[in-house]
Symmetry: C2
Subunit: 305 residues, 2 copies
């Protein structure tokens, strides 16, 4: 986990006031901000995707960060670094995808420079607009853990692309054109009264659960049977689908901890509970192969580094 080492180093220099959540919440300006980069051959390959889908996903990844904060996306800047031989068609299709994903979010420019690989860095600015902003550190005992949808599909889709099979599978589409869970996020942030934790599953479900537990100093007890997955995932990967569900990245589902009555009122899918911290047990998964699974580190989690 080199990324986490670097983050520790950075915290020591600039402090940790804003580090930890998907977005930085700038209270004085009433805005939330996030920046995410996609690097060719690390996050994507044009062997598998198209410029249009790449643009679409680049926007969605960032819209998901705003959703994870509870804010409302408003503006986006885009820095593109492109190899010398890049065709104008690439830029055109990329921006069409970006714009189609944005739906009401205004793209306000950015920067284009040269490079040898394609690099995309998107910054998104959202407003609080009367909503309650989340923090990973806000999970409270007695709250339930909810998620917005299925897990593991994107990682399954990526496997299919890499193995060049079942390319018409819905899993592949979920990998290439994920949807940010804007409505799910709004349902919570517009209606909830008490503090709540929220994250997206960009680095996987286990990663999100682990980070919420650690930041909040709680134990999350999750019932594996309650976690949703695409039927296709189990059919295509009968031996591996459970791993993909927990550790596969890029589903961009929302994970949140909210009061139980709130979850029931709004019909949210409950997968577990927030409990008093159990030593060395940030996340306990029950009903996993008729056993318990403890997640106490991020070694197995999705890591783009």
């Amino acid at each position: 986990m080199r990324e986490n080492d670097f983050i520790e180093t950075i915290k020591n220099i600039i402090g940790d006031k804003y580090i930890g959540d998907d977005c930085a919440f700038l209270k004085d300006l009433g805005i939330v901000v996030s920046q995410d980069s996609l690097v060719e051959y690390v996050h994507f390959s044009l062997e598998y995707t198209t410029p249009y889908k790449l643009g679409y996903k680049s926007a969605m990844v960032n819209i998901s960060d705003i959703s994870a904060s509870g804010g409302e996306g408003k503006y986006m800047t885009v820095a593109l670094s492109l190899p010398k031989n890049t065709e104008n068609d690439f830029v055109e299709e990329f921006y069409k995808g970006l714009k189609d994903a944005c739906q009401g979010i205004e793209i306000i420019g950015g920067d284009i420079t040269g490079s040898d690989k394609i690099m995309i860095s998107v910054t998104i600015i959202g407003t609080t607009n009367g909503r309650k902003i989340s923090s990973r550190a806000n999970a409270k005992e007695g709250q339930v853990v909810v998620t917005s949808g299925v897990h593991g599909s994107s990682a399954g889709g990526l496997k299919l692309l890499q193995e060049n099979k079942n390319l018409s599978s819905n899993l592949v589409e979920r990998h290439l054109m994920p949807k940010a869970q804007v409505e799910f996020s709004e349902k919570i942030s517009k209606n909830i009264k008490e503090d709540y934790a929220m994250m997206d599953s960009s680095d996987g479900l286990a990663d999100a659960l682990f980070k919420i537990a650690k930041s909040s100093d709680k134990t999350l007890v999750i019932d594996f049977k309650k976690i949703l997955f695409d039927k296709e995932l189990k059919e295509i990967f009968p031996d591996d689908y459970k791993n993909l569900m927990l550790y596969g990245g890029e589903d961009y589902q929302i994970i949140a901890t909210v009061p139980e009555d709130f979850a029931k009122t709004y019909g949210l899918n409950i997968i577990g509970r927030v409990e008093t911290k159990i030593e060395n047990t940030p996340v306990k998964i029950i009903n996993y192969n008729n056993d318990e699974l403890i997640i106490d580190n991020l070694e197995k989690c999705f890591n783009h580094f």
Copy 2:
């Protein structure tokens, strides 16, 4: 000028409301935003600079964009893409440089991912804070053209680095650790009453003059003798210093058009005047080798692509 082709394509898709200035001005939020990327071997090489200086410059480049808008820098996000073998020391020194350049601007996080070259993408958010925000399209007849300092030094410094000579020259320092012209910008944006054009010379003086002239549909007449330069630049590059002054990038000086009495009141260095558009003559430089020089395209200008 592939970059400009791409920008045209992008304008056709997302519109041109925010495209053109160094920053996007989001009136509803009272903020200005800019994003700029630096790519290894395109914008910098660790053969010439240090991680600390690279961090410092990465921040300054973006602070300069805010200064060019007339806004006040407040927050910065940083996306780093780093090769697998990057040492923790690099991250530490980079962030120290970044922080030292920031002076009151808060670094609010960002993103770290893998890549094969170092890529840095910084987004800066500023507030209007009662200041008047500039636009490149605001140059008016009768205004004078002012600049904040010397031109050509950074490009001269880069040449010295590339030729591995005179490494203790002030020019080298100007290239590696440029200073954003925050005070010059504030003097204008805090005090001016009428609309004004302003840009930084990140891509060179000629580029800035040309873009202001084109965006404002005016002709800028510049007296070459009034343009400031480092004495060292002429001494080290007797045959080339004039070219470097006009076309060399990365000086991060501010170029603005303001009323003449305003320029005199605040002691600003006047280098020329805004005049009614002369066909095919966006920029006319007088007293250049006892002749006139017309700049009617950006072919010779600094281009990172």
